[in-house]
């Protein structure tokens, strides 16, 4: 098997196209899944994906495949070279990003294995027995993967980035299935994840559900913990494409033309940003794009990324841009970054301290099955799940039924009345498969729209 560096060099050396970008991604992963107090499935995986993007006379062609040998890479190169000969000049054509080799280019790929769960698995087995004895049922999943990206170009780029991504999530139910709770979070290496603590947290939250209260649909004073805020803010971020806004088709569009950059969308003191170097949320500090779209361009591969403010002091400051859309909109080039941070200037304290200040309201756990209803306002619908708790006189006094909500995250940033300190968070709705690097506060919303009651437990 060839090294990733060899695969990159081979592709660049053998392409017949005018210019070329090669991305090699070596991924190892391991997972454990459980339900009904027993392990169900598991897996260990290793794959090597190579993307060859050929450029000729302003056109481009992208071909990807599994490739562990130079022979396999040759097949991809030939396919890309062949495709680009027939390609017309691309709408997003631009000079490729020049550069040089980074210091860690020669390092081998990072690696994970089933051993990352050694301590966790032992404790988890004990927690299955404890849960069984104490009339609880555990369901959950842990996943850890390490993807090392090697990006090379005919303009001299040799960039390497090693990305660990991990998360844990555990749902607990009482044996009669009448109460459900969830705990979960992101982790880079599982050194900070303890199965005993995880199970204890679930038991505590299930205990909050010993008194059950049925509430009707309506607007409620609700605390969205950091997880639920992440669930919603990720959607606000994903929909922040500059082109679609400029062309009048998103919540970030200005009526009459152009974008709402500069407009006050949220309360003063609200800051939404991404930063590839954010401690604990580190991610790729350069653009990696295998295909062009409204929000990405293959011509931007290798472009350096730095802290980018999306909302500054409540005003929309940037949208997701490529060099092409930046020219279109007359704005700076601000490509997407694989993390998201929400901070509120006067946000402080913990979720517990925020609960203590609520006379009567709800404390949520997380949100689920979030889908766009109306792009004009970014109205989203979704479900509360695994713990909606009644707060009375500053204390949690019981568990409430679940609801379907209809809300816009952009509007919520205008309406919330209090925020906790920002902490690392994990989106239940999106963190598993799509976006797991977030830091958000809890937000208190005085009139959160619980549109209908869900009987789901």
């Amino acid at each position: 098997m060839s090294t990733p560096q060899q695969l990159v060099d081979h592709a660049l050396a053998t392409t017949a196209s005018h210019e070329c970008v090669v991305v090699v991604q070596d991924t190892t992963s391991a997972n454990l899944r459980w339900a009904n107090n027993t392990l169900t499935t598991n897996g260990v995986m290793h794959c090597v994906d190579v993307t060859v993007i050929a450029f000729r006379d302003g056109g481009s062609a992208s071909v990807s495949g599994t490739a562990a040998s130079t022979e396999q890479v040759t097949t991809l190169v030939e396919a890309a070279d062949d495709a680009v000969r027939r390609a017309e000049p691309a709408e997003d054509r631009n000079d490729l990003v020049p550069g040089e080799q980074t210091g860690d280019w020669d390092a081998p790929p990072g690696y994970t294995s089933i051993d990352v769960y050694a301590g966790f698995a032992r404790a988890l087995g004990e927690e299955f027995d404890r849960a069984q004895a104490e009339q609880r049922i555990l369901y959950g999943f842990v996943n850890h993967e390490v993807t090392t990206t090697y990006l090379g170009s005919s303009t001299g780029l040799r960039l390497r980035h090693e990305q660990p991504t991990g998360h844990y999530g555990c749902t607990g139910k009482t044996a009669d299935l009448s109460t459900s709770a969830w705990v979960g979070g992101a982790t880079r290496d599982f050194a900070d994840v303890d199965a005993t603590e995880m199970a204890a947290g679930l038991a505590r939250r299930l205990g909050w559900g010993s008194r059950r209260v049925e509430l009707p649909a309506g607007r409620y004073d609700a605390i969205l913990p950091p997880t639920a805020v992440a669930d919603l803010m990720i959607d606000a971020y994903w929909n922040a494409g500059a082109r679609v806004a400029y062309e009048g088709q998103s919540v970030y569009s200005r009526r009459g033309g152009g974008t709402r950059i500069g407009d006050q969308l949220a309360r003063h003191g609200v800051h939404l940003y991404s930063d590839p170097g954010h401690p604990g949320l580190e991610c790729a500090p350069f653009v990696v794009a295998s295909a062009s779209s409204n929000e990405s361009s293959v011509f931007d591969n290798g472009m350096p990324l730095s802290r980018t403010s999306w909302i500054a002091d409540g005003a929309l400051s940037s949208l997701l841009q490529t060099r092409q859309t930046a020219t279109m909109t007359g704005q700076p080039v601000t490509p997407g970054i694989d993390n998201l941070v929400l901070e509120v200037a006067d946000g402080s304290g913990s979720v517990e301290e925020m609960v203590a200040g609520v006379e009567r309201g709800l404390l949520l756990t997380c949100l689920w099955y979030i889908r766009e209803v109306d792009p004009q306002t970014l109205l989203l619908t979704g479900i509360t799940r695994d713990g909606v708790y009644l707060v009375e006189g500053g204390e949690i006094t019981g568990a409430v039924n679940n609801f379907r909500f209809n809300e816009s995250p952009v509007d919520l940033l205008r309406r919330f009345t209090a925020a906790s300190a920002t902490v690392p968070s994990f989106s239940r709705a999106w963190g598993d498969d799509y976006f797991s690097r977030t830091a958000t506060p809890a937000l208190r919303v005085p009139d959160f729209n619980m549109s209908s009651v869900s009987q789901a437990l």
Binding site: G65, A68, R86, Y369, D432, S454, Q455
Partner: protein, 516 residues
């Protein structure tokens, strides 16, 4: 099902030239050395192509190919799974050893030993899905030109500010072999075309879009090329789309309340998918998805007693429907594809199974046999129970859609899918659509906007008064249904007729979003 010899002939020779038989032999022999109860080897090559077009210009195109293999063993009552991409005998042996080691670790945490329902052995069989023209054999430029032309046509209309189009295409090849002696080689082709027109009304500041209602299908390029009797009529739809978009932009906002609904298959397929398809996956009903997508209200104790819907409700599951996105010859556990009842006369009578669930529950459901719903979306993922094609049956003597509309005094006719969401037990759902037409006195009287319908599953299906006849039946589907952890995607079709529902809750979405 096609004959073995003709299907073997149709399978892509660039796939059959790959060394999967050698790798399978090496991996299975090594697994056998450990005395495992079951071992299977699955080799896959999945080819993808996707391109997008906007306002007559190509935005991006991408070709990718995922090649590799996975070994799954059942050892000491637990699953062990490992996968790899290096196509050598030594690598296959190593992956088998890894799978056994994972099973040994898992056995310590597996309280309920896993056992599999038996299945006949199928010795070296082949299956290929039915299509005329493999889209991967059509030059990219030719396909892009079609979409450029279509989006340019849409853009030329006054009502259209922008127009986008995209085409996803998949060719999926799998080789499966197990210690029992089953060996299968299969090929499936599917595609998903989509066109969307965007417009705005300057006077109100409203913007909106309208999409074509062509379904994703297990067909080839002939579906788009207009060269077959079963090609989708994109020409007519493109001609009509701008006018329908303009009408929607200027349409009155719906008054929230309860209405009778007539729902076209292009919308109803998604309601079936969410409220029936997922709810009757047995692994969900047993709790195996509880940490992710949730469970089901249709728990196993309700088999043969749960009144899911009205007596006109008859739903089947299958992996045999021609051109069905979930149709296949044999599943990823070597089980031959089948058809079975899920709901009959409105009562829950069946579920979707894999071999481990069939062992425990199959005696009541399928005579102790899996009905073939095991699937993995890539060589790097373990096979799990995935949705079959799940379809609502028409009334053999039922009316056409106009006939259903004619039964409504005050209602709404729903066409095309858009927003969707359902809760963790598949009770509470909310859907929107592409177009909503007011029904007054049995006729359509213009579009409405800002409409969503919301209901609880059994109330909704219980309110189904009538289904249309076979002439209204269409096959819709989902190209990328998500399930499990780690996440996997699968394609699945849902056939249904038009149907009439009484007194369903309608929301006004602008009022939903309007806080004080």
């Amino acid at each position: 099902m096609s004959s073995v010899s003709s299907d073997q002939h149709r399978i892509d020779p660039t796939f059959t030239a790959l060394p999967y038989r050698r790798l399978a032999e090496a991996a299975l022999n090594r697994a056998r050395d450990f005395g495992v109860g079951h071992a299977d080897f699955r080799f896959e090559r999945v080819r993808y192509q996707h391109f997008s077009v906007r306002d007559g210009q190509l935005q991006g195109a991408e070709d990718s190919e995922d090649v590799g293999f996975g070994v799954r063993v059942l050892h000491e009552g637990a699953w062990g799974f490992a996968s790899g991409v290096i196509l050598t005998r030594d690598a296959a042996v190593m992956v088998a050893e890894q799978a056994v080691r994972v099973a040994q670790v898992a056995a310590g945490m597996t309280r309920t030993p896993i056992e599999l329902a038996p299945e006949p052995v199928y010795d070296d069989v082949a299956w290929c899905s039915a299509y005329d023209v493999n889209p991967f054999q059509v030059p990219l430029g030719e396909k892009v030109d079609v979409f450029r032309g279509w989006t340019s046509r849409l853009l030329a209309a006054d009502a259209v500010d922008h127009a986008s189009g995209s085409l996803q295409q998949v060719q999926e090849n799998k080789f499966y072999a197990d210690l029992a002696g089953t060996t299968t080689t299969q090929q499936r082709v599917r595609l998903k075309p989509q066109l969307e027109a965007f417009g705005s009304d300057e006077s109100s500041g409203t913007f909106d879009s309208m999409r074509t209602i062509s379904a994703p299908v297990a067909r080839g390029w002939e579906y788009l090329a207009g060269t077959s009797a079963t090609s989708w009529d994109f020409d007519t739809e493109i001609e009509q789309l701008p006018g329908m978009l303009r009408e929607k932009l200027l349409a009155p906002s719906v008054e929230a309340g309860t209405y009778d609904l007539v729902i076209h298959p292009s919308n109803l397929w998604l309601t079936i998918h969410e409220s029936i398809g997922h709810a009757t996956e047995l692994d969900r009903a047993l709790g195996y998805e509880a940490n992710y997508a949730g469970t089901s209200f249709a728990t196993y104790d309700k088999l043969s007693s749960l009144q899911y819907g009205s007596p006109v409700m008859h739903v089947i599951g299958d992996r045999t429907t021609p051109h069905g996105l979930a149709s296949v010859g044999y599943d990823d556990e070597g089980v031959q594809s089948q058809e079975w009842d899920i709901i009959r006369d409105g009562v829950l009578v069946g579920y979707q199974l894999d071999r481990s669930m069939a062992h425990t529950y199959g005696a009541e459901l399928n005579g102790g046999r899996s009905n073939g719903c095991a699937y993995a979306d890539s060589p790097g993922h373990i096979a799990i129970q995935r949705m079959a094609n799940v379809s609502l049956q028409p009334d053999p003597a039922g009316p056409d859609t106009d006939g259903l509309v004619g039964k409504v005094e005050r209602g709404i006719y729903v066409v095309g899918d858009r927003s969707w969401s359902i809760d963790m037990q598949r009770y509470n759902f909310q859907f929107t659509g592409q177009r909503f037409y007011r029904i007054e006195g049995g006729t359509l009287t213009g579009q409405l906007r800002d409409v969503a319908y919301q209901a609880t599953t059994t109330d909704f299906w219980g309110a189904m008064e009538a289904v249309g006849g076979p002439q209204t039946y269409e096959l819709g589907g989902a190209f990328n249904c998500g399930k499990a952890q780690p996440g996997q995607v699968a394609s699945v079709s849902h056939g249904c007729p038009s149907a009439l529902f009484r007194q369903i809750r309608i929301l006004n979405t602008t009022k939903e979003g309007a806080a004080e």
